[in-house]
């Protein structure tokens, strides 16, 4: 026990002493993540790919839709500047791969962001309130789950026409379902935790409890799932493009390029190899980062 004078001394020193910085769970996780070599390497590679995609127009004298009549479907050649070769229409493949990266990464990130916002909010609300609200909300998710995805996308395309924005919406609209389920499950287990009860007892509103107490604590698994969703979305977009439902010419994505390359695999292998390498590399990187994050955020889980 402290005596009175010690206490007053403490009180007086309250303002004077410098505050000690705490080490949050997020910071711990970050430190663990940066110790993971595979994850750090992946982040560097992804950073480079992203940077290349952003500054693509500066890297080559050719535009992505510019036809070079002298070199149609020619192999890689450093002397004329077509370092990845050209495609069947004489367009520079290097620039097209980087423009494809723009589309693929944007689809991946945006669709995941859409799924994140809808899924986390929806799942947290369903899990937090529980009971009838939960049942109704989750049955709705089950119904959406049972819709065949391809059918859904084709319908969207037929009704609204082919549009890159629609792909974001379609992919986001499908991916949030799993996110909602994950978040709901996590929230259900959090709901009975004592710090939530303490917030209740204090009179914090439900809305604030969800956003201040529930969501920050479910974010761990959510982030991991998110990094694994991005490659999934990129892959799905590639698949849609491969089927001819994706982006429209002359804009391109990795899926479109791979699809074109696959048709001429015997005559001009480079048209398949370069976009495929970029796609595979990106997917690998996201998966490594996802694994690294999972280990970093949940050290007990290893």
């Amino acid at each position: 026990m402290m005596n009175k004078s010690e206490k007053t001394a403490l009180l007086q020193s309250a303002g004077a002493t410098k505050e000690i910085e705490g080490r949050s769970l997020w910071r711990d996780a970050r430190i663990r993540l940066f110790r993971n070599k595979a994850a750090v390497g992946s982040m560097i590679i992804l950073g480079i790919i992203t940077l290349l995609a952003i500054i693509a127009p500066l890297l080559s004298p050719y535009a992505y839709d510019q036809i070079d009549w002298g070199y149609i479907q020619e192999g890689p050649n450093w002397e004329n500047g077509h370092i990845f070769g050209t495609d069947g229409n004489g367009r520079d493949l290097f620039v097209r791969v980087l423009y494809g990266a723009r589309v693929s990464l944007a689809v991946g990130l945006l669709a995941t962001a859409v799924s994140l916002i809808i899924g986390v909010t929806y799942g947290a609300i369903a899990g937090y309130f529980g009971g009838k609200i939960d049942s109704i909300m989750m049955r709705f998710v089950d119904v959406l789950y049972s819709l065949p995805f391809m059918f859904f996308v084709i319908m969207l395309m037929v009704v609204f026409g082919r549009n890159i924005f629609l792909i974001f919406v379609a992919l986001g609209a499908v991916e949030w379902l799993t996110m909602a389920r994950i978040v709901r499950g996590q929230t259900l287990s959090l709901r009975r935790r004592e710090f939530i009860e303490a917030a209740h007892a204090t009179g914090v509103s439900n809305f604030k409890i969800i956003f201040r107490h529930v969501i920050p604590n479910v974010l761990g698994p959510v982030i991991v799932y998110m990094t694994l969703t991005i490659p999934q979305v990129i892959l799905t977009e590639s698949f849609l493009s491969f089927l001819g439902l994706g982006v429209q010419e002359p804009l391109t994505s990795w899926g479109v390029l791979i699809s074109e390359g696959a048709k001429v695999i015997e005559a001009s292998t480079w048209m398949l190899i370069y976009p495929a390498v970029f796609l595979a590399l990106t997917l690998f990187c996201f998966n490594f980062i996802g694994d690294g994050l999972r280990d970093a955020l949940d050290p007990k889980d290893r």
Binding site: M1, M2, K7, L10, L11, S13, A14, G15, T17, K18, E19, I20, E21, G22, R23, S24, L25, W26, R193, E194, F195, E197, A198, A199, H200, A201, T202, G203, V204, S205, K208, R212, H213, P216, N217
Partner: protein
Amino acid sequence: MTVMTAPDKRDNAPILSVRDLKVHFPIPGKGLFAKDRPLKAVDGVNFDLFPGETLGVVGESGCGKSTLGRAILQLIAPSGGQVAWLGKNIVGIPHRDMQPLRRDFQIIFQDPLACLNPRMTIGEIIAEPLVTHKPELGKDEIKTRVKRMMARVGLLPQMINRYPHEFSGGQCQRIGIARAMILEPKLIVCDEPVSALDVSIQAQIVNLLQELQREFDLSLIFISHDLSIVRHICHRIMVLYLGNVMELADRDSIYAAPRHPYTKALISAVPIPDPEIERNKERIVLTGDLPSPLSPPSGCVFRTRCPFAQEKCATDVPKIDRVSETQEVACHFHDNI
């Protein structure tokens, strides 16, 4: 630490009156069309709590102590009865009317770490009630108050930016107390606040609670199964068994002359730190376990384990009898045993 004497506040109006409080949880019946069966966690509890008083709630695991505490705070909706706060019933009132009342009562939990959000700094945790109920205060004012309260409960104020996992159990419990105290409430329900701590820390926390109680004229409902601590801190003690009150009395009466056989058994189980006395004392050992609250015994709920049970106990539910000014017992034969 001196043992406190009970404040003589019977003349005052009670701060909290609980009348016939019931919490029944519906348990789905077996079979497709079976009816739900009620699990009677708390079944008709009555008591008054006066300002500045500590009421101990004791009983074995599963007797409804925690449920009672939460039902009083309306964290679990009671299925019947009344809880009157300063004379006004708060059972079943709309959420909107309940929120402003919450600044007056708080809760302290058993598990010190689990009751703190691991993603928030302790400054944010302690400030949360202030931010919720007094949003008009500026950031600096809130911070000053949080630091003052941290110092008051024995935490270093410069720790304000640390996270719960950086503290020990006792310190976490101090954080929990600071959060409960920051709005200067009138009632705190302490749900086994020290049972997760080791003994030296228990004493510190209990003494801290007593100091705060004196300073702020706080009423406490102290839920515990540790009879020594209850004896140290409580003015009155309520013994619960299977959601029913067995005995409610002043601390001194209940330890000196327990009237209910269950209370006698509980008190005889408290070890006395003197081997001579301990060896020779009369020990009432109860056999069996707590019956299922889904199918409580008929009549007196304690009869299945009561060494004095007679036929009447199986048929009639004992009424609460006032045996003296300060002691109430629910037993048919409290005069004879």
